[in-house]
Symmetry: C2
Subunit: 428 residues, 2 copies
């Protein structure tokens, strides 16, 4: 297997000013196409640091990808530093200059000498077209190695990687054309339990690669060919075996969020959804509205951060609040019923709890959460507890609420499809 | 200046399964204490990869920090790989074993041989106490260099760094005891404009280090001693000069979010806040409720994702929706007035717009947003436009709404403090 190094360049990464999102994106893309990263090296903008890091990578790797430092400003040094290490002259490309002149003309701007830095590339390299900015990327094959230089801004890098880099690396035989791994997403169970359930299947297929990643109540399992080759069909068959073993803890193949999965289930029922939130404070509604097209299913929500808001906006009876308190199963059910009625929604979810850091008691410590769920066939509540800080409790509660709804939707699929008038049978 | 390398270990980072949050946290912490990272190297869990990366770092850096691979499982190889490179034997520490036995006893678990891996450390090293898990960190001074090995889980790493590592590195003279830089947060203006406004001040102080980071409408400026030494008092004086030059575009010194700044302003007025959201879909309420103690000021919000919800939950007149449409200045004002009245809030913010990807027209392209703001002295609307995908439009709209409110609160500080009955003068 080829050795692949990623060099992400920029002082702001080392200063903790900006997350290294290029590692996430490119690491995921390369793994998906069969060539996981061997290393990621982050260095600053100083030419000496870039040269040292690139010299080392060029000696020991087969494919080297760099990000950042291709622009016109004084801290953009990648082009010059790398040409120096490769011992290649930088050559001016009038076609790139013409493209910049044309791009600038639209906003009445004129090209200057700093901008012209972007028109140079090492002898023998190809330009990679930049649809969202001025600096082209650079692609070079030399001494049996491949160098790909990408611009720093994510909105320029993503489309360039997809339309210019992927096809070249597939043609060069470095990347596979299909997906090289299969991801199973699970929810509501710890990583250890997921592993125990799929371990007997993994043991049946020696040479199968396995990786886990847990985040806020969701556990992703990634299976891929490792010590032995598995074709896509066989990988999918193994994935199907695993999903059967995981039962209702299995959410989906791939990367769909729990919000996406729930909205898809509701779309199949031609049903609508509303939410009522206390401790998640809008994060549940925001997770749902992150999904394009959510407006066809999601009608809206109420963030009721006070007793008065629960009473005025969700018709939670004052006597119920007095008797059971705002953080209770009874209030969760009253909130969810109120949200469904107020918005005229077929389904609703509610959350009330204590995200902290203050406000906990012995009976109701910080992290205590009550969920409410209402469907055409009834209303339920559920008590849960999450440890962690305020933002963790918010995020885990949102995932728990959506996962609970997902399970309920699966369980009552036939009855509810009937009740909402879509049909008598669940869709395949 | 000492050379500092960070080695973050873990297959999941290279596969794009998990963001490299340790780089953000540790990069920020080290910069804050006067020693910015020189490099970050990310490699997987294979012992050969760890050995190669560590050998290189140990040769060329003065301080090396590693994260991950100290736990009990089979892919935890950091301790062994590094001891190998250093040529040091691993020694068993019965005190660590006793601590694990005691910790496990609470949950009725018994220690096994895999767990005992965590009781070993290279000869001459000190253990770093782990308050949140079983694997202690490792601290070693050798050949004039310093090695710090930290566990992978963030909830174990953060407190260990703060209470065990920082004091040791300060005693060793590697880190400063105070803050080594000053951050100015601005909002609502592009990086280029911020730079133009502070450039004359920067030019007055040769040797001053300057870094920018732009994120979703917020631009952070970080100033620090670089080629010349500046004490904390002088750094603050320069920062004060810059904040004066930035005028109302200056948000705060440090890291407070716009939500935090707005809530602090309202707290000073003993005033309350409600929100009404369409295209941001709960993200505005969630940004506000991310702040501990928000419940004392923020009463709640409505996510009105349909015309009917705007009518039923916010009293937006049907005739107004018919005449002007849901994405209009008139609707934004009706929503904000409705939210203030329904929740009985002194102040309110509203958002209506098109986050995309579908639903845009020639008159109202995707990215068009109307904001509404109401205070005890009036109600306003404002039209804005943001390019980018759905999540970008949501995030930029939330920042723009909060920043607009921040500016309004500054402008009407005296009048509103009077109107809300807190006092006649702004607090200092």
């Amino acid at each position: 297997m080829k050795k692949l190094d990623l060099l992400t360049l920029g002082d702001e990464l080392l200063l903790g000013l900006r997350p290294n999102a290029h590692l996430d994106y490119l690491g995921g893309e390369f793994a998906r196409h069969g060539l996981p990263l061997r290393r990621n090296i982050v260095v600053g903008d100083a030419p000496a640091d870039i040269e040292a890091a690139f010299r080392d990578a060029w000696q020991s790797a087969d494919v080297i990808v760099t990000t950042g430092g291709l622009g016109p400003t004084s801290d953009d040094n990648t082009r010059e530093a790398i040409a120096q290490v490769l011992g290649l002259p930088l050559e001016f490309d009038p076609a790139v200059e013409a493209a910049i002149v044309e791009r600038f003309a639209r906003s009445g701007r004129r090209i200057n000498d700093l901008d012209r830095k972007q028109c140079y590339r090492p002898r023998g390299a190809q330009p990679l077209r930049n649809r969202a900015g001025t600096a082209p990327g650079i692609y070079l094959e030399k001494d049996g190695k491949i160098l790909v230089m990408l611009p720093g801004p994510a909105n320029e890098l993503w489309p360039m990687f997809e339309s210019e880099v992927l096809p070249r690396l597939q043609t060069a035989g470095v990347l596979s054309s299909g997906e090289a791994y299969l991801q199973l997403r699970t929810a509501g169970v710890p990583e250890l339990h997921v592993e125990q359930r799929i371990r007997p299947i993994v043991d049946k297929y020696p040479g199968l690669g396995l990786a886990f990643c847990a985040h806020q109540g969701v556990v992703d399992v990634r299976i891929a060919p490792a010590a032995r080759d598995f074709g896509p069909t066989q990988l999918q068959a193994i994935g199907d075996e695993m999903s059967a073993a995981l039962g209702e803890d299995f959410v989906c193949f791939g990367h769909a969020t729990l919000a996406q999965v729930v909205l898809d289930e509701l779309r199949a029922r031609a049903a609508t959804l509303a939410v009522a939130e206390s401790c998640t404070g809008g994060l549940l509604a925001s997770a749902l509205t992150d999904i394009p097209g959510a407006s066809k299913i999601f009608l809206g929500g109420v963030v009721s951060y006070t007793d008065d808001a629960k009473l005025q906006m969700l018709d939670v009876p004052e006597s119920l609040l007095d008797q059971h308190g705002p953080v209770s199963a009874e209030t969760a059910v009253a909130m969810v019923t109120g949200a469904a009625e107020r918005f005229g929604a077929d389904y609703a979810l509610s959350v009330t709890g204590l995200a902290g850091p203050e406000g906990g008691t012995k009976e109701l410590p910080v992290g205590t959460v009550f969920l409410g769920y209402s469907s055409p066939v009834g209303a339920w509540s559920r008590k849960m507890f999450f440890s962690g800080d305020r933002l963790t409790v918010k995020a885990r509660t949102v995932n728990a609420a959506l996962d609970w709804m997902r399970r309920k939707l699966l369980k009552y699929k036939v009855a509810e499809l009937h009740a909402t008038g879509v049909g008598r049978e669940a869709k395949p």
